[in-house]
């Protein structure tokens, strides 16, 4: 999840969400960065409204998780 968190920091700081910035944040945290994952993340987020996606509860899986703990 550290890659996702890094994207979220960049989203809040207003810096561009690109491979270089992501890599910098992760390296500063001592993460052994995999470029393919950075690339994949940038690609996955390309058309995503992060602020919206973050608040939208991921319906199904969350449910599953909830049911698992709740039941």
């Amino acid at each position: 999840m550290e890659y996702v968190y890094a994207a979220l920091i960049l989203n809040e700081s207003g810096e561009e969400l690109n491979e270089e910035n992501l890599t910098n944040v992760l390296e500063a945290a001592g993460v052994d960065v995999e470029q393919s994952r950075v690339k994949a993340l940038v690609a996955a987020l390309e058309d995503v409204d992060i602020d919206e996606a973050v608040e939208e509860a991921a319906a199904v899986p969350a449910t599953t998780g909830g049911a698992a703990t709740g039941g």
Binding site: M1, V4, A7, L8, A44, E56, A57, V60, P61, T64
Partner: protein
Amino acid sequence: MSTQERKTETIPEWKREEVDDITDFLSRYESVGVVSITGIPSRQLQDMRRDLHGTAELRVSRNTLLERSLEEADDGLAELTGYVSGQVGLIGTNENPFGLYQQLEASKTSAPINAGEVAPNDIIVPEGDTGVDPGPFVGELQSVGANARIDEGSIKVMEDSKVLDAGEEVSGDLSNVLSELGIEPKEVGLDLRGVYAEGVLFEPEDLELDVEEYRSDVETAAAFGRNLAINASFPTAQTMPAQLSKATGEAKSLALQAAIEDPDVMPDLISKADGQVRALAANIDDPEALPEELQD
């Protein structure tokens, strides 16, 4: 300048040495605070020093000398002189000032309050059974302002009752009632008034951390990360099970709605058909038209 120079010259040697010593103390720590030590018996103060050992150091002296040292320290510490009044000491630490504040708060203990002392905060007699047998004590409680009465063989306080406002003096009667009830309204301990840490002045309210709030922030941040990963369909080890479930749920929903003849959804499709036939039957008023199993 000349007056100050003269003042400096008139300072006795022992005071000069004391100030030098305090100045040296100040230079050893990244964070320095002023703590109130009012009402702490000297033996308890010794215990507190020992508990702080390794984290922070307490330095007590005459207030004038503390002030002088802070003023001479010359890196912003002079801002702390405003907190030097009454019985105070300086506390130095290289730890996080927030952590220091928490540690000091945690080390505070309660103590009984004596007649003639000023209440540091509102004094409340809590609702509940006092455990005291019926007798004149109920009258004493009522006279200090507690809503008390005898109930089922003992004296009960019917509701939380404020018996004294903060800043008011404790009467002899109240002191007796409180001690009978075992209520210790005073908090005794090192009371941090202000801390100067690496260029920033913190007051107690700045240092008070709502740990629960931080915990809930962590949960929110984690949930946000999770939502983003799932909604943007970025695979992470933690969210993969959820993402797989989501995909499966979508396929299942499609299969159910399109009535796709897939073995995995057949039981659900049958259930769906059964639910529909029952829903339709529920709209039929004439029992003659209904199958036996649904007739009254």
